[in-house]
């Protein structure tokens, strides 16, 4: 039975990933900040193990990695992320941008590198990070998204570098664009229901090979321009 690890699994895309993989017969390791109130995750049943993880907190990441050490993991989905309200440039203070960088850019790298041995023990060897069209330097023209764009573009950069380094280990690192999905993080505005976006992203993950490592691909299978 293949195993998937999903961060930010208590709601939104993370919950939907957990739901769909569980329904497909996978072992799911679902990480979230507050397992005791993750009722929808718990309702998915015993195939889903829920573990505490606050990706903004370095000791929490260390504890989490210790908790999962040694178990083979086929697919790691670094999904936990934060958004930020639109701002003018003058309002972008460290309090606004540092959490976005820590959660959206650094945490996926910290977790992936900490899970390297788990991925090597698994068969599929795939590390997927949930990025965003906002990370695209050429294709995004929504104003005021300073911290969010910078953090997702930084994620893309870090993931590209990791992909190059992990090629020799046979681990594929891909960046996924979910599309504009109706979740709490987007204020339930968007073109897509979580089911559709996640089904698409799961299809991309399933079809990804080492040749796709370092690519930025949408839920629709299409390449996203950098």
């Amino acid at each position: 039975m293949p195993r998937v690890l999903v961060t930010g699994a208590n709601r939104g895309l993370g919950l939907e990933f957990s739901r769909q993989y569980a329904a497909a017969g996978w072992d799911v390791v679902a990480a979230c900040r507050n397992p005791h109130v993750a009722t929808e995750l718990k309702a998915l049943g015993k195939v889903v193990s829920i573990l505490p993880l606050d990706v903004a907190d370095e000791p929490s990441i260390a504890r989490f990695l210790r908790a999962v050490s040694d178990i083979p993991i086929d697919v790691v989905i670094l999904n936990a992320g934060v958004s930020a309200p639109p701002q003018i440039a003058a309002a972008v203070t460290r309090d606004a941008w540092a959490p976005a960088i820590a959660v959206n850019a650094l945490a996926p790298l910290r977790l992936a590198t900490g899970l390297c041995a788990n991925l090597q023990k698994g068969e599929q060897k795939k590390a997927a990070a949930i990025s965003s069209l906002a990370a695209s330097l050429s294709k995004y023209d929504v104003p005021g998204q300073y911290s969010y764009r910078a953090s997702k573009a930084a994620l893309n950069s870090l993931w590209r570098s990791l992909a190059i380094e992990w090629r020799s280990l046979g681990i594929s690192c891909i960046l996924l664009r979910p599309g504009k999905v109706r979740t709490r993080m987007t204020g339930f505005s968007g073109d897509l229901a979580p089911e559709e976006s996640v089904a698409g992203m799961r299809r991309v993950i399933a079809g990804a090979t080492l040749a796709d490592s370092g690519r930025f691909i949408g839920y629709d299978g299409k390449e996203v321009p950098w």
């Binding site: 440039a89 960088i101 650094l106 300073y146 573009a153 930084a154 994620l155 950098w226």
Partner: protein
Amino acid sequence: MPTVLISGANRGIGLEFARQYAGEGWQVYATARNPADAADLRALGGRVSIHQLDVANERSIAELVRALAGTAIDVLIANAGISGDLARSPEQIDQKEIIDVMAVNAFGALALAAALHPNIRAGSRKIAIAISSLMASLAMNDFGTQYVYRASKTALNALWTTLALEWRSDAIACVLLRPGLVRTRMNNFDGDLEARESVAGMRRVIAGLSLADTGRFIGYDGKDVPW
């Protein structure tokens, strides 16, 4: 007499920008974290006025703004940048490292520009330049390494293109420049280009910019850099 403000001007690319612009009769506002250490900058003479600035420090930016209140700035060159610990392997990168480097290379450049918005609006050329890097380019990254430095320059690109959107209505062109691999202290004098050649090229690009160029990422050689 046109005016230019250059951050991180005490050495390297910033110093060379100050030298070349002063040589052409521009009024240069040059900033450095430690003006007392900026002997080469002082040697450029009276047209270069030196100001203390640490772009990662909000109070430092606020003091610069006070010192320059009412001064029109035709061209801003957000050049100040740090390499961080280039040798760090990815599993060794922690929040402190990435935030410290982002605070200078990405968000420091943005904060400086935002703080000087009135000065740039009052200028006649209305150009805001950020010194980026080939390392910012995702398309060109086939080598990996230097994780945090690369990410900080990609983040800078994201911030500057967003700034270009915000400042379009003020007719301020926000452009990213790639210096090429220049021999300076920041990269241990290992590179293809002397600072003089790179900066001459970048000044040529700057001289030719209009609002139509806002949001572009251009090399010292005038060529667009792939994102």
